[in-house]
Amino acid sequence: MGTINKLQFDALVIGGGIAGGETALNLANNGYKVAIIEKELSIGGKMILLSKVFPTLDCSACITTPKVSEISRHPNITIFTESNVESIEKKSEYDFTTFVSRRPRYVIAEDCTGCQLCEKSCPVIVKDEYQFNLIGRKAVFIPFSIASPKVAAVDMENCILCGACEKICPSNCIDFTQEEREYEINSKTVIIATGFNLADPEKMDRYGKGLFRNVLTSMQMERQLAPTRPYNTVLRPGDGKVPDKIAYVLCAGSRDDSAGNPICSQICCMYSIKQAQLLMGALPMADVTLYYIDIRAFGKGYDEFYEQARGMGVKFVKGKIGKISELPNGNLILRYEDIQSGKIKETEHDMVVLSVGTLANREAPSLFKGIAPKVDDQSFILQDDPILSPAKTTVKGVFVAGTASGPKDIPDSILSAGSAAAEVISYINQKQ
C-alpha cells in the first residue's frame, strides 16, 4: 500500500447524489471547502438516471446535468468518485478524521476523452448496472452517456486482461498498474447524504421473487423511458414484445409489515403516475392500470398531475395485489381484492411494473468509530430534533441531508439539503 494523502476541508459530504451535491453547492457558494465522497463511478445519484420528473415532466437529464457540472467545476468542491469511506472518527468538536480509499479506475482520468473506442474493442459483455441489468455493457466502459466525470473505467472483476483496450486507446490512458489510493481527510463537519436503497423484488415472494421475465422494477421502467433508453422504445424484456396491457403494482415493499416496512415511501405513487403518462405517449394504444391502496399526491401540483393522468385515460384500481403468477406466454395474472366492488379478481397483463419503495441505506452509521449517529425504527438516520432542526443527527457536528433520514421526493431532498447547509454554516460559525 502506498502513502496516505492528508487533506483538509471545512465539510465532508458522504454521497454525491442530488442531496449531497446541493448541500455541497450551498456551502461552496458561501466560501467553504467541501469534499464529496461518492462510491459510484459518477456523481448524480439516482436522479441523473431518471427519465422525466413529476409534476413538471422536465427531462431529468436536462435539469440534473447543469447542477452536476456546476458541482464538478466548483473551485471549492473536490469530488472523490469510486471511493469508499473506510472510517469516520470524531476526535473533538470541529475535528473529524475520515479515511477514504479510492479504487483504481485503471484509466488515467485526466487523459481520457470519453471516445468509447475501448468499449468497442472489449470482448467481454456483462450486465449493465447503470441500465438496471436491462442490457449489457463491456468490461471497460463509460458508466452512462451523461456521467460526470465522463471517463472510462475497467471492471477488473470481469476483465480478462486481453489488452485490446490498451492497444486501441488513442490517448494511451489505460493503465493496469493503478493501485488503490488512501486519503486521510480532516474536516470540521460531516454530512450524511447516502440516499436510499430500492426495495428488492427478489425478497417479494408474492410477486415472483424477481424471476418472472416480464415483471420489471420501476427503476427499470425509468430507464426504458429515459432519453438515453436502452431499446429506443418500450419493450418487455422477456421476449422483446411491445407491451399493450401494462400494470403497476403500487406499495411493492412499502406500507407492508410482512415486508418489514410499515411506512409509506412517499414517491412511488407519483413516479408511477408519471411513468403512466409517459407510457401513454410512448405507446398510445397501450392500456395502463395502476393498482393502489391510496394515491398519495400531496406535493405542489401533484394532485393536479394525478387528475391529468386520469384525464388521459390511465386506469386506477383500488386494491393491493396479493399475488402475481406467470403464464407460459410470459403474460402475468394479477390477483387482488377490487375494493370498489368488494370482489376478488384476477386480471391478465403482458407487463408488470413493481413500484418499489425506498428503504434505508444502512451503511453510514457503521462507518463511525466511537460514537455513531443513531437510527430510527426503519434504520434511517435519526433526526435528533426533527421539528426545529431536521438536519441534526444525534452526534454534534454530523448532519443529514436528503433521503438518508427518510423517504423524500426531489423538492424535499433539495430543501433538506439547504437545511443541512444552513446548520453546517451556523455550526462552523459558532467556532469562530
Partner: protein
C-alpha cells in the same frame, strides 16, 4: 459583415431534439454561413464531455462567439455562458438557440417542417452572434442584512439561522406576538411536544441573538430597491395610544418572505357549517381541546361528546370550488388530533370520512395507530361528498363508502369536525408590492418547483414555509433554512454582480416625453438635465433589461445592450427570408 469567428453546436438532447429535427441536416445548412468557423452536432451539449470539448474548441481556434442550438435558455443559457467564461471568452458572446421547445417538441408531427424551422432559428442566432459584444457585470455593494417577513415557525427559524451565519436580521411581524399558527397546534408529530412549547423555545433563542431585531405590530408600507439594497418602510402600531404610529426605514440586501397560510374557512352551509349546530372546523376543534383541558369528558356546549365525525378535504381537492390542490398536512393533522384526543378521552368513537388517506412517509404509523385504536375509516367517492344534516340533538353524516363496495353509510355524531386545508394569506398587499408571482393555487411561486424551490424570479427575494404551498412543520423548517442559506449567499460577500443587460438612452436624440418612464415596470427611469435639456436617465441597478421602454420611445433613443437594433434586425431578416 463582422470579422467574428463562430462555433456552432447542435444538440440532439438524447433524442428529445433529434427524434424530430434532422440535426445533421441543420449542421449542413448552417456550416457555410458567414463567420461560422466550425459546426458540430452533439448527443448532449450540456454533458460534461461536450462542455470540455467546447472549451478546447474556443481556446484552440480562438473563437470569438458561440451558438448552441438546444433546449430553452431557461435551462441552459447559464451553462453555456459559463463554458465561454471558462474558455476565456466573454460570456455575452454566447447566443442560445432554442430548437427543442420551439421546433422538435412543438412540431413532433412534422419532421421536415421542424427541421426547416430549426435551420431558421439557428441561422438567426448566428446573425445575432455576429454583432454580439463583450459586456461586463455591474458591481454593487450589498447590505449584509436580511429582512424576514413573518414570525411564524418558518420566519423564526430562518432568522435564527441567518443570525448564526453572521447576518443582521430584521424580523417583521404584523401581530403583537411571534409563533404564528404553530401556537395553535397541539402535539407536533413526530415529537411529543406542544406547538406552544416550541414557540417559547424559539422566542428564547431569538432573544439571545444580538443580530436579530424583532419588530412586532408592524405593517410594511413601502418597499423599493433591488437585490443588495432594498429599502423597506415599516409602520409600527404602538397599541393603546392612538396616532402613535412610528415609521422606520430599513435597508437590507435580501428579503425572505415567510407570511404563512390561512386555514380554509368553509362557506355557510358547506358540509352544514354554520347551518347545522355542532359542525366546526379543525382549528376550532383544537381550540376546544385546549379549553377543555383538565375535564374528564370532552364537552361541547356543555354536553358530552361521545362520537365524532371528521370530514376530510374541506377546502382542498374541491369538486366545485377553486382549490384543486391537496393541502398535504391535513390527513396527518387529523390523525394526530385523533390520537391526542384518544389519549385523553379513550371512550370517544371517531369516524373519519376521507377521500383516500395521505399519511405519507413515517406519518403512516399514525394512521396505523388510529386504526388499532378503533377509529373507523369511511372513504367517500371523489365526486360524491358526504352530506351533513341535523337530526334532533345529533348531526347525521351520510356518505357512500368505497371501502365497503359503495354501501350507504350513516353516522350519528355528537360533533362534526371539518378537516380544513390551507389557503394563501388573504392579505395580498405584500405580494403585489414585491411583485411576487403566484401559481395556479395562488401560493407564491418559486423559480423551479424541483430544483429551486425557495428562490423567486425577483432577484434577492426568497420564499419560505407555507406561503409557497402547504407544508407540515418540519417541511416548513427545512424550507426556511434553505431560504436562509440562499438569502445568506446574496448578502454574505458584501458585494454583488448584476447582469449588464440594461437599457441606455441616447441623450442627443431624447427629448423627455415621459413615455418610457410610464412604461417601465420597475421605476428605473427618471428625468434628468443634460446641457439644459430634459432627458431620460436609466438607473442601471434597478433596470432589469425587460425592454418595455424601447417600443414606446417616439425618437428611438433607447437601446438595450445585447439586444441592439442591429442584432434584432439581422435576426428578423433571417427569420423573414
Amino acid at each position: 459583415m463582422t470579422d467574428k469567428k463562430l462555433g456552432v453546436y447542435i444538440c440532439a438532447c438524447g433524442g428529445n431534439i433529434s427524434d424530430y429535427v434532422d440535426i445533421e441536416k441543420v449542421k449542413e445548412a448552417i456550416k457555410e454561413e458567414d463567420c461560422v468557423f466550425l459546426a458540430k452536432t452533439t448527443m448532449f451539449a450540456c454533458g460534461d464531455s461536450n462542455q470540455k470539448e467546447m472549451e478546447s474548441d474556443i481556446k484552440e481556434n480562438n473563437l470569438s462567439g458561440i451558438v448552441v442550438a438546444s433546449c430553452s435558455p431557461k435551462l441552459h443559457l447559464n451553462t453555456f455562458r459559463a463554458v465561454s467564461e471558462r474558455a476565456g471568452l466573454n460570456k455575452y458572446n454566447y447566443v442560445h438557440a432554442n430548437i427543442r421547445e420551439q421546433a422538435s417538441w412543438a412540431h413532433s408531427d412534422d419532421k421536415i417542417g421542424a427541421t426547416e424551422k430549426a435551420i431558421h432559428i439557428v441561422k438567426a442566432a448566428i446573425a445575432k452572434a455576429r454583432y454580439s459584444q463583450s459586456l461586463f457585470p455591474i458591481k454593487i455593494e450589498s447590505e449584509k442584512s436580511v429582512a424576514v417577513i413573518g414570525a411564524g415557525v418558518a420566519g423564526l427559524k430562518a432568522s435564527l439561522a441567518l443570525s448564526k451565519m453572521g447576518d443582521k436580521v430584521y424580523l417583521i411581524e404584523r401581530e403583537n406576538k411571534v409563533g404564528g399558527k404553530l401556537t395553535t397546534l397541539g402535539k407536533v408529530f413526530p415529537s411529543d411536544i406542544q406547538g406552544n412549547d416550541f414557540v417559547r423555545r424559539l422566542e428564547e433563542e431569538v432573544k439571545k441573538e444580538n443580530n436579530i431585531t424583532l419588530i412586532t405590530n408592524a405593517k410594511i408600507e413601502k418597499c423599493t430597491g433591488n437585490i443588495g439594497h432594498f429599502q423597506i418602510v415599516v409602520a409600527t402600531d404602538k397599541g393603546e395610544n392612538r396616532n402613535e404610529n412610528k415609521h422606520e426605514e430599513i435597508d437590507v440586501g435580501s428579503i425572505l418572505v415567510a407570511t404563512g397560510f390561512e386555514s380554509y374557512r368553509p362557506q355557510d352551509g358547506e358540509f352544514g357549517y354554520k347551518n347545522v349546530n355542532n359542525v366546526i372546523t379543525l382549528p376550532e376543534f383544537r381550540d376546544l381541546l385546549r379549553e377543555n383541558n383538565g375535564h374528564k369528558n370532552l364537552l361541547y356546549n356543555n354536553s358530552k361528546i361521545k362520537s365524532l365525525a371528521f370530514i376530510y378535504c374541506v377546502g382542498s381537492r374541491q369538486i366545485r370550488g377553486e382549490n384543486k390542490y391537496c393541502s398535504r398536512y391535513c390527513c396527518s393533522a387529523a390523525m394526530n388530533t385523533s390520537l391526542e384526543l384518544k389519549e385523553k378521552y379513550s371512550d370517544v368513537q371517531i369516524y373519519h370520512f376521507t377521500k383516500g388517506v395521505r399519511t405519507y412517509g413515517a406519518q403512516e404509523l399514525m394512521y396505523a395507530e388510529a386504526c388499532r385504536k378503533g377509529d373507523i375509516f369511511i372513504q367517500y367517492p371523489d365526486k360524491e361528498e358526504p352530506v351533513v344534516n341535523k337530526d334532533g340533538d345529533h348531526v347525521v353524516v351520510r356518505a357512500k363508502d368505497i371501502l365497503t363496495s359503495k354501501r350507504e353509510i350513516e353516522v350519528l355524531a355528537d360533533l362534526v369536525v371539518l378537516i380544513t386545508g390551507m389557503v394563501p394569506d388573504s392579505d395580498k398587499s405584500l405580494g403585489s408590492m414585491l411583485k411576487l408571482p403566484r401559481g395556479r393555487d395562488n401560493f407564491f411561486n418559486e423559480i423551479h418547483v424541483k430544483l429551486r424551490p425557495v428562490e423567486t424570479v425577483i432577484d434577492g427575494i426568497t420564499i419560505a414555509g407555507t406561503c409557497q404551498g402547504p407544508k407540515g412543520v418540519m417541511e416548513s423548517v427545512n424550507s426556511a433554512l434553505s431560504a436562509a442559506v440562499k438569502s445568506h449567499s446574496f448578502v454574505s460577500k458584501g458585494e454583488l454582480e448584476l447582469p449588464p443587460i440594461v437599457a441606455h438612452v441616447d441623450t442627443t436624440t431624447c427629448s423627455w416625453c415621459d413615455a418610457c418612464s410610464k412604461a417601465c415596470p420597475f421605476n428605473a427611469i427618471n428625468m434628468t438635465e443634460v446641457n439644459n435639456g430634459k432627458v431620460a436617465e436609466i438607473n442601471s441597478t434597478t433596470c432589469k433589461g425587460c425592454g418595455m421602454c424601447l417600443p414606446v420611445c417616439p425618437s428611438d433613443s433607447i437601446e438595450l445592450t445585447s439586444f441592439t437594433n442591429k442584432e434584432i434586425e439581422s435576426m428578423i431578416d433571417i427569420l423573414a427570408s
